[in-house]
Symmetry: C2
Subunit: 266 residues, 2 copies
DNA sequence: GTCATCACATTGTCCTGACAATGATCGGAA
DNA sequence: TTCCGATCATTGTCAGGACAATGTGATGAC
């Protein structure tokens, strides 16, 4: 590959790296229980979010920054590192730390459909079709790592936005983990209830694919027969490694897409 | 919720937290250019992988571990932290650091279809249907952040496994970024070529949904007309924030699913 | 027996200091 | 001009220490 100025060959027109405005002032409260590095990280993130720190601008070197803020270098580094992990900053040895150009939004979380829709202003509603305890079928028991026949909650819900069906959610939760109140299920999401019950989610294994709607499913979701459906299966684990939920969801492909951003870990 | 022993109510039978075997010996090479914390992290990861450190076992406190290895505590912490970030370890203040129970495999990478299939032993092959430069259509220009009409490579590929079509891949790459040799495209993946050209991927924005196959697509993929297809659109950015690739892919839902693990960031 | 309190173990935060590794820049030599 | 090397700026790695915050378990009071 020949070495030609990049902006000529690619058509990118982007401002050359600029130094950060020196007027950046951060307020750190040493008496606060919030860690200093976290206070700094949040203010940096806010500055990036509001464009005070423009994309591509350099942050100024760590040592000088630490001195200016009255912090030690490790503390400043910890703050910067957390934003690097979020994909907001890029560090280059010998160069400095700069704000990434592209707008990074969310590095993909264990997304809750309810939260996602609510955040998007879609005002989701839920119809609980089923909420009962039954012996775990083989497939569910395998996914949850419990004995076949062990009692599990079985929940079936229809999630709607603007009074239109969006997804059909079937979930299994081991019995005894949390109270599954139908009313609460209708007014909030399952994951939020889990957090409320003191369960801290740690990881999840997901599988996303597609298939055609059966007549039953089509009717339930208000789709024509043979429509394309987006399917997701997920097993979620808490921080002790217990499987706490196994879900099989189907989404109307005409109305829903999994939309996310992900980072390349170096 | 009543407080009853968890194993009674949930049916989990899991060994109580055990102490790590003291026989763990790590070999650290201070003359190696590989950072010490990284050497330690890799050996810890290997120990977890091979079951030497069993799920749920405690790692022993950091200070003692540091002393035993002849390292400082920050170095040991850095090693542990990297594994926490990978989801392999969980730290608890006042308790210790323990290996997570569930088997975490991959925390979801910016996956290359080619690499994924190869790793799964599927021996993928590629048929390049088109490899040309053309002016960017509006949609492509918008996704790549370049001017409409600016020259872009347009690649269309059919990916097969076991001589059966698996996916149809349409990609656009700004002209001048890298050489797109058709032969190389057939023998490897696009992302690998990018890395080879010195482009370091940083993040990507993806959207996954589904729809029915058009007659054309059905024919091309060997599916019946009106079959369900899994679709993905992706824009990838390098570490300077430039969009370096925009792809529109369709997968045979009967043969493919997006399968991944993700972590909840605390 | 049940509950609150205290001590202990362990990780979390923060500091100071030093040197190494790397990318960019600039000057001089071919 | 072109290329090479020295120099500089900046982040990367590592050490050692101090105290705070928090979960666990034991102790004691009721």
């Amino acid at each position: 590959m020949t070495r030609v100025p990049v902006n000529r060959t690619t058509g990118y027109s982007r401002p050359v790296t600029t130094t950060a405005p020196t007027g950046l002032d951060f307020t750190l409260d040493r008496s606060s229980p919030v860690p200093l590095y976290y206070q700094l990280a949040q203010q940096l993130e806010a500055a990036i979010e509001h464009g005070v720190l423009s994309p591509g601008s350099l942050l100024g070197n760590e040592i000088e920054l630490a001195g200016r803020l009255g912090l030690s270098r490790p503390t400043v580094r910890q703050a910067i590192q957390s934003l690097v992990d979020k994909g907001l900053l890029v560090r280059r040895r010998g160069v400095g730390t700069q704000v990434v150009h592209s707008q990074v939004k969310r590095p993909l979380e264990l997304s809750s459909l309810y939260d996602d829709l609510e955040a998007a202003g879609q005002s989701p509603t839920t119809l609980v079709l089923r909420n009962a305890v039954r012996p775990a079928p083989a497939e569910v028991a395998a996914a949850l790592g419990i004995a076949e026949g062990h009692p599990v909650h079985h929940i079936e819900r229809l999630r709607l936005t603007h009074d239109q069906p969006m997804a059909f959610l079937s979930n299994h939760v081991p019995e005894g983990l949390l109270d599954l109140d139908t009313e609460q299920l209708e007014s909030t999401g399952l994951y939020r209830m889990m957090r409320g019950a003191g369960i801290t989610l740690h990881s999840a294994r997901q599988s996303i694919s597609a298939r055609l709607a059966t007549p039953d499913e089509a009717e339930r979701l208000g789709e024509p027969e043979g429509a394309a459906l987006l399917t997701m299966q997920r097993t979620a684990y808490d921080d002790t490694g217990r499987a706490v939920e196994y879900g099989t969801h189907i989404y109307r492909a005409s109305r829903y897409a999994f939309d996310f951003q992900l980072l390349v870990r170096p």
